[in-house]
């Protein structure tokens, strides 16, 4: 357990560092591109790189401290009170006690789909989000299973990593989209002019390739951190409730109707089950899925339960 936590910390720092390097590189290539396009020999590349780096550091800090709020805003989750829903409160509170951690805040997305996720920087500042459909359609044992799964994500510090990725990957995607457009629309006009040296041409090419690849890089980062964690959270969640069948039966219900309206590709990996409709099939489905197949997760839970209650 503690090994997982430090592994996740390292991954978080690694991803932030990668993000900083990526943004700095993009800034540098933009500078070179400007030099190349306007046939000047300025220090734009260094200036823009430093500028980009400063912005990236600010974004990284902001996302470290505010990522949960950004995600809650993105998914339009609202807090609920103990009086409004004592059942959910007692379930989350009880399981937090069993896990020996503070009780997270509880938010609800007003959506009839069945899904849930957790976010926050650390267990003290964590939030568990359920959809209204989940609370209404699951019985106590099933809801306990889902809550325990999310609490395990919090305890493992998966939430910090997952939430920061939402912000940083979102930024990378936006930056690369803007740049791609400006390259494609602005790039042609300059072709008649003479070139400014082979080196800068190569650098511009590298820059373009980097930017072209960035959505793919972003996707790979997102995937690398999310699939195995789901199995881990399933099993440690089941340890918490001492009843794997509860989560297994919840997953069965969730898999039928997990499509959340306010979820998108940037936030998909946070949820307990894929909240975005499946677009890919076959080989690519397995390669690019943010979640392991539900059947496999249920199978593993059933093996854990040794036949009890399944």
């Amino acid at each position: 357990m503690y090994e997982e936590i430090s592994k996740n910390r390292v991954k978080t720092y690694f991803i932030i560092a990668f993000f900083l390097a990526f943004v700095a590189a993009i800034g540098y290539f933009i500078g070179i591109y400007i030099d190349y396009r306007y046939q000047v020999s300025s220090t734009y590349s260094v200036i823009i790189m430093v500028f980009a780096l400063i912005i990236a550091v600010i974004i990284s800090f902001a996302s470290y401290y505010n990522s949960d709020k950004i995600v809650l805003g993105l998914t339009r989750a609202k807090p609920i009170t103990r009086e409004e829903n004592p059942r959910v409160y007692y379930i989350v509170e009880g399981l937090s006690i069993a896990a020996g951690m503070p009780r997270p805040k509880i938010y609800v997305i007003d959506d009839s789909a069945l899904n849930a996720f957790a976010t926050g920087r650390n267990p003290e500042k964590s939030v568990i989000v359920f959809t209204r459909g989940l609370i209404e359609n699951l019985d106590d044992q099933e809801l306990k299973g889902v809550a325990a799964h999310e609490l395990s994500h919090i305890k493992n510090y998966d939430i910090l990593l997952g939430t920061i990725i939402v912000v940083l990957v979102g930024m990378i995607t936006i930056i690369s989209n803007i740049l791609l457009r400006s390259f494609f629309f602005g790039g042609r006009r300059r072709s008649s002019r003479s070139s400014g040296g082979v080196l800068s041409l190569v650098l511009v090419a590298v820059g373009v390739i980097l930017i072209l690849l960035s959505p793919l890089i972003a996707t790979i980062i997102r995937l690398a951190v999310s699939r195995n964690r789901e199995y881990l959270a399933d099993s440690s969640g089941a340890m918490l409730t001492r009843y794997p069948a509860g989560l297994a039966s919840a997953l069965r219900k969730i898999s039928v109707q997990s499509k959340v309206k306010t979820a998108n590709n940037a936030t998909a990996h946070l949820f307990i089950s894929n909240p975005v409709g499946k677009k890919t099939a076959g080989f690519f489905k397995n390669l690019f899925n943010t979640h392991p197949p539900v059947e496999e997760r249920i199978k593993r839970l059933e093996q854990m339960s040794l036949g009890v209650g399944v």
Partner: protein, 189 residues
Amino acid sequence: MLPGIIILIVILVIIALVVIGVGVGYYNSIISIRNRVENAWHQIDVQLRKRYDLIPNLVETVKGYAAHEKETLQKVIEARNTAINAGTVKEQSNAENQITGTLKSLFALSERYPDLKADQHFSRLMEQLNGIESNIAYARQFYNDTVMKFNTRIETFPGNIFARIFNFKNRDYFEIEEESARGPVKVEF
């Protein structure tokens, strides 16, 4: 001759430092688990206090509808008072089992008084009590998990050596009496 002895001494000192370092680390890990056991016990305590505070309210409410059921009400209060004064883990778990038992008879009582069952205040108290009961169960689970880790740590090598030197004792589990309370039992027909 002389350089050989110096090298030997250096090696011995390094080995000694490593052994001491590992030993200190292990000792500290035992202490931190022991503190976690204390913390887990405190968690149970918090939940138990909540229940103690609730019981007089509950008894008062029931009294308003079923004043002549003195015996049952008396038993609940007695069980509560014993539990508050309990010292050791064993005494406490016995007392708690007693409370759970008497509360059950109190709830059974409410079945016979429709007015009581319909009382808003009573149903809210019941809801809170149920929530606290399940929290107690979870706190007990956390406590027992931590106790298991602590006991394993001081029974296995090299923890057992430290246990002998520093007189660490196995902790008691917080036991529950009834089989039915040991976890969700699903019965299918």
